[in-house]
Structures are given as C-alpha cells and as structure tokens.
Subunit: 218 residues, 2 copies
C-alpha cells in the first residue's frame, strides 16, 4: 500500500486493527509525498493508496472518502499569536514567519490555495520536506506552519506545539482510499477498504478527543 | 542542507539556535533517506549534510562527529517483552514481530549489522519507509522496532512507545557533519559547523534527560 506522507499517522493503526480481525495477512507500506505516490499509481506499484486529495489530471482513479483529515495552524506553545483575540485573522498568519512543506506535498497545495483565494501571500522562512521536520521546527521557534491534526496523534495537543484558532481554519479535508480505475482489487485489498470505511466514526472520535474544538466544525 | 531522515529531529533545533545567534540567515533543509542523501552529495546539491553513518565507498567526503545518536529497542507500552528480566536477551528481540525501515536507511543498516554479527535473523512483519510510520505502528501493537532516541524528542519516553533495556543496546552512533572532500564551504556553512560542534554537550544532556539510563553507556 502506498500512503502520502501525512497518512502515515493513520495507516499503521488501520493495518494493526485490520490484522487483528484477519490474522496472517502480511502488509507492506510505503510512505511518499503526493508527487511520488502519483508516479506509483501510474506504475501500479501497490494495491491501494491513502491520499488527502484525489488526483484527477494525472491518472484515472477511483476514490472513496473515509475519514476527516483537518489541517490547522500549529505554533510554538505560548507564541505571540496565541495572545491575539480568537479567531486570529488570516492576514496575521500570512505575516508571520512560515515553515512550508516541499513542492509536491498535498498539504502544501491545500493551504496555498486558501491563502491565494484570500489574496494573501505566506511569508516563507524555510522549506522543509517532512511533517516531523516542520513539527520540530515549530517547537523550536523557527516559525509557524499548517499541519494535519493527525500529526499530533502521539504527543497530543498539550506538548510543545499547540493548535491556534484561526479564521477560515480548520481546512476540512478527507482521506481517500484510491486505486487505479478499472484495476481488480485483491480480496485482501477489498476487505481492507471495507474495514477502513467502517472505522470512520472511530477516527472522528479520536480526532475530537485530541482537539475538542473540532466538534464545532464537523 | 541535506539531512538523513533521522536527523530531522535534531537539525531544526540547531538551525533555530544558530539563527538566533546570526539573525538574517536563510536556510532550507531537505530530509531524505541515506541513499538519496548520497546522491545529493554526489550532485553537490547542498552546503552541508547531517548523517548518522559516513559514506566511504560511494563518495569522498570530510566528516566531523558532533553528537550522540543512540538507537534503542522501542516497544508498545506494557508489551509482553517488558515483563522479562532486564536486560532482555537479544534473541528475544529477534523472535518478536519486527517493523523494519526500508532498504537505504542508515538506521536499518546499523541494526541489521548487529543482528547478523550475533548470528540472529529478525522476524520482519512489515517494512515501513519512515520513522514516524514505525513509531505509530509500534504504538498500535503491529510489532517492535529500533529507533533513534531522538525520534521521541517531542512526545518523550512516557508516551505510548517505551524504550526497552536490551542486551547489546543502545547502539551508540554519532551524528556527523558531512561535506564533499575539497569543497570550499560558504562562510555560513563554516559558522554552522562551528556552532553545531559547540552544542554537543547540550544535546547529550537533553538525551540523558529524555532517557536517564543512557548515562550508564556514555
């Protein structure tokens, strides 16, 4: 299975839970950014893909949404922006040193689209090619950024990185199970799709548990 | 600057601290696995690299060690292995379902070498292409693995993943600042090297703070 980089936060849990229901199945999972995943789909390298944005121009696919993947503004705990009246206006985000994901990242595409629609331009301080590098850089005070709430699954929202309430956020995205159109899925891949779709409410509950404000937006 | 995937835990903090001393300097940082970093060195794409294992066969480089990067066995909190007498024997690790990094990972090379020297073979359950996918899979109970202690920097050692005391562990590695032999470094890169080397004790203290047992091995 190929998963976009952000999906690495959710795919292992799904595989673990699936493996408990269907013991003896072996998996492998490759984590790449959106650009690489699209190449893997074109080459038909994996059974299934988990992506945050369905590719439409590059390759013909079937896509099934299955869980929320909300993007929020992440800042160092106690960052000056946290002192502003909530929700913080979008232009204040655009004016603050920003840590951007590399070209080819679906997360990056999603927030660049929002800022461009609002006629705003991000003040990019550094480009980093992984969510964790961004998280560590936010925690170190190098700048702020926008990440999936799933990226805080292990450390929670009380750690060195906090979620800021910002105008026009969260960006509500979904995860999609994707496969090349017309490809006949293995029985295992079909079962995994059914299982994953059945986990939607469970995943939503966990996200709301991580960041209770999310319930106001769903 | 190019950094191997595991170095993304340390490089942002170094850049942040360096940027405070020398304001106005702009950076970019690319995170790749060992194989890709070696290609980037060959193509001279970056000023400096941070790696956990100096490439010797593939490319001529100069390398300066600067901080500890200990690898430890990571298990789901409360895993049956935690009930064994400590240190857990190495063969017990080899017999447990193991989550392995992809080929090309320096971390993977380091632990495969240890097990092969001891005449043991890992029981590989799944191959995952990022430290975070591994961490989430360990936390989900898909298996155990071996990761740099630095990978727990944000969530700490009291979270869903715990460090297991195992015979022949930690594998004590160092981080190296690497650049192509003979390449004239920019003034900024030279300053960053000096600064990074000066941070060694600080980084060691932070690791010991994260996992106090480490002090017994240094």
């Amino acid at each position: 299975m190929g998963v976009v980089t952000t999906a690495k936060y959710i795919a292992p849990e799904l595989l673990a839970a699936f493996g408990e229901q269907f013991p003896g199945i072996e998996f492998s999972m490759t984590v790449s950014n959106r650009g690489d995943i699209i190449r893997r789909i074109q080459d038909s390298e994996d059974d299934l893909y988990i992506m945050g944005q369905v590719p439409t121009d590059e390759v013909e696919v079937e896509a099934t949404p299955f869980a929320w993947n909300p993007l929020t503004v992440m800042v160092q705990r106690g960052h000056p922006l946290t002192l502003l009246k909530k929700p913080v206006p979008l232009h204040a985000i655009a004016e603050t040193s920003f840590l951007i994901r590399e070209a080819g990242s679906g997360t990056r595409n999603a927030y660049l689209r929002l800022f461009s629609e609002k006629g705003l331009k991000l003040n990019v301080a550094m480009e980093l090619s992984s969510n964790e590098a961004i998280k560590h850089a936010v925690a170190s005070g190098l700048g702020i950024s926008i990440l999936s709430i799933h990226s805080l699954a292990l450390e929670g929202t009380k750690g060195p990185v906090e979620i800021l309430e910002v105008e026009d956020f969260p960006i509500l995205r979904k995860w999609y199970l994707v496969h090349p159109r017309g490809k006949i899925l293995s029985l295992t891949a079909q079962k995994f799709m059914e299982f994953t779709i059945s986990q939607e409410q469970f995943i939503t509950d966990r996200l709301v548990n991580l960041w209770p404000d999310l319930a106001n937006y769903l």
